[in-house]
Amino acid sequence: MTKYKLIDHTADIGIDIFGNTLSDLFSNAGFAMFDIITDITAVDAKDEHIVRIEGIDKEQLLVNWLGELLYLHDVKCLLFKDFLITDMNKNHLTATIRGEKYIETKHAINTVIKAVTHHALSVRHEHNQWKARVIFDL
């Protein structure tokens, strides 16, 4: 199954994300973000981090989750490739994420994402599938 697809946005980047379960959807959203940032095949799953996220609903939970990954990327220069959601409901998630520190000679930065926005944000279940839309500020 396709994990995500880009949608055309004039200034920024938007993505539609797909998943069989809500956990799948969130995992694929993490993958999509780092697939846009870098060539994810060049990232090794060397270091492991556990993150816990809260949100008032599943939409905000998604933004907060991606925001947390982006924060770790921006401040600690980390790139992630594995996103294992170990526990979640619509207000909370715990995930084990794996990746490594950015190395200039090893990793290409294709797109710098500045922020995860709430614009046109949606998370819904339709035709037996979870689907979400997120717009990134570049």
Binding site: A11, V75, V112
Partner: protein, 482 residues
């Protein structure tokens, strides 16, 4: 494509989206006929309408000719709110708070530097950190010192030896927005800010060395210190990860506040709170911190630009006479006095991808430009040109003293990359006499000139609409991009 809204032509350069449904005011968009067709291809007009739903909006919800689809507010959007019953929205300012532009002038002539551009562009690229993980190795900020940056902006930078007091007189609000309260800032924002002060960032941020290619009003150009063929430098950057974190933190608070105050939102990114509420006041105090951070950032980068010029051109300090023409915010909310129904009233003016354009003799027009109006700096894409304009009385009375901010994108980054994939953009620009150094090929490809509207058309619209006056055109010689 069919649209749910009506558009009425007012004149050759302006359009009205009449109030209907839950809109509280009309939408007004500045554009020519061709641009208007293009604008309707994305969601930006719907965003003009969404903004007009917000409580306490005064006058109109404006779209400038560089309008394009943003998140929440459109990019190129202006909206003013009544202090008593209006709201302030972090989405109306954006993530990159006080993303802005600074123009420097020099005594150097184009002929003196064209054969030294290679060395100049390389020195600039190595002196001004850009891209992922970039930071200044020679800059270590303590927590307390960072709070001083947030309180004092460019004034802090000058106190540390980056530039002079004279620079401060040529910056919007003298490089320091009052009311900043660092105690409200999250640990996360402080952490992000500490590492990134003095860095350019990425995407459309740049430092561009160019020259004055055309002068449209010799007298005003002289007041601005701009002569034909003299070298200029444009700096475009903002508050970096610090601003993004402040915006992110504030949006979380504002989503709750919108519920608390029963504000119906057409888009969650427009979340807001009454200006007078604690949440509204706190946001303005945090936003001022980020705005000051950005002023300090551009002030420090200016210092390294001066050093780079001296080093690469082998000139003595001070000989290039590099000085600040002006420095404007492109993403900001300001409390300003405006005339509403014939009476002076303080309003909270949101400019998201728009520039203040105050007229001659206005109290907040800097002393040096009292006779000519506040300078407005409009960067174009890296292959064409940029413009210097001044504010007008008409801008003050019709658009809350606001005008456009740049060329505005017309093409998504994906499309631009596809278009550039088989081309060597760097070589194409070099053949036009423009040297570009970018942190990655991706940045270069995304920023191809064709991805932007023609800035000349944008500027012609604001000039014909009377909301700014064109003074000079600048053409690029070399550019560094994040």
């Amino acid at each position: 494509m069919t649209y749910k809204y009506k558009i009425e032509k007012i004149d050759e350069y302006s359009w009205r989206i009449p109030r209907e449904g839950k809109m509280r005011v009309d939408g007004i968009v500045y554009a020519n006929e061709t641009m208007m067709k293009e604008i309707q291809k994305d969601e930006s007009l719907q965003q003009v309408i969404n903004v007009s739903h917000l409580p306490g909006i005064v006058g109109h919800s404006f779209g400038m000719p560089d309008i394009h689809w943003g998140y929440g507010f459109p990019i190129g959007g202006v909206a003013a709110f009544d202090l008593d019953d209006g709201v302030v929205s972090p989405g109306g300012v954006g993530y990159d708070i006080n993303c802005g532009v600074r123009l420097l002038r020099t005594d150097l002539q184009r002929i003196e530097i064209v054969h030294k551009l290679d060395s100049l562009v390389n020195t600039l690229f190595s002196s001004i950190p850009s891209g992922v993980g970039s930071h200044r190795k020679d800059l270590r900020l303590s927590h307390q010192e960072e709070k001083n940056v947030l309180k004092n902006g460019a004034q802090w930078a000058v106190s540390q030896g980056y530039g002079s007091k004279n620079d401060l007189e040529h910056i919007e609000e003298n490089g320091r927005i009052a009311g900043a309260d660092p105690e409200l800032i999250s640990e996360r924002a402080l952490e992000r800010g500490k590492a990134q002060l003095g860095t350019l960032g990425s995407g459309n941020h740049f430092v561009e060395v160019g020259y004055v290619s055309e002068v449209y009003d010799a007298k005003i150009a002289q007041t601005l210190g701009l002569q034909k063929d003299s070298i200029t430098i444009v700096v475009h950057t903002g508050s970096r990860g610090f601003g993004y974190q402040v915006c992110d933190d504030s949006i979380r608070t504002m989503i709750k506040a919108s519920k608390e105050f029963n504000i119906e939102l057409p888009d969650r990114q427009l979340c807001c709170a009454p200006i007078k509420s604690q949440q509204g006041q706190d946001y303005l105090a945090k936003m001022a911190c980020a705005a000051n951070y950005a002023f300090a950032n551009r002030q420090m980068i200016t210092h390294w630009i001066k050093e780079s010029f001296e080093r690469s051109l082998h000139i003595n300090p001070g000989e290039s006479k590099i000085s600040v023409v002006y420095d404007v915010c492109h993403n900001i909310a300001r409390i300003e006095d405006h005339i509403v129904d014939g009476r002076k009233k303080p309003l909270c003016v949101h400019r998201k991808g728009a520039t203040r354009a105050f007229p001659p003799h206005h109290a907040q027009t800097p002393d040096a430009y009292k006779e000519v109006g506040q300078p407005v700096l409009i960067p174009g894409d890296m292959g064409r040109c940029s413009y210097v304009l001044v504010g007008t009385e008409k801008a003050y009375t019709t658009t809350f003293g606001s005008t456009c901010h740049g060329a505005g994108r017309v093409m998504s980054r994906g499309k631009a990359k596809k278009l550039a994939s088989s081309r060597n953009i760097s070589r194409e620009l070099k053949e036009k006499g423009i040297l570009v150094r970018a942190d990655s090929r991706a940045t270069m490809d995304e920023e191809i000139p064709e991805a932007y509207k023609d800035v000349t058309e944008v500027v012609d619209v604001v000039e014909h609409a009377g909301i700014s006056k064109k003074i000079a055109q600048l053409k690029p010689l070399c550019v560094i991009k994040g």
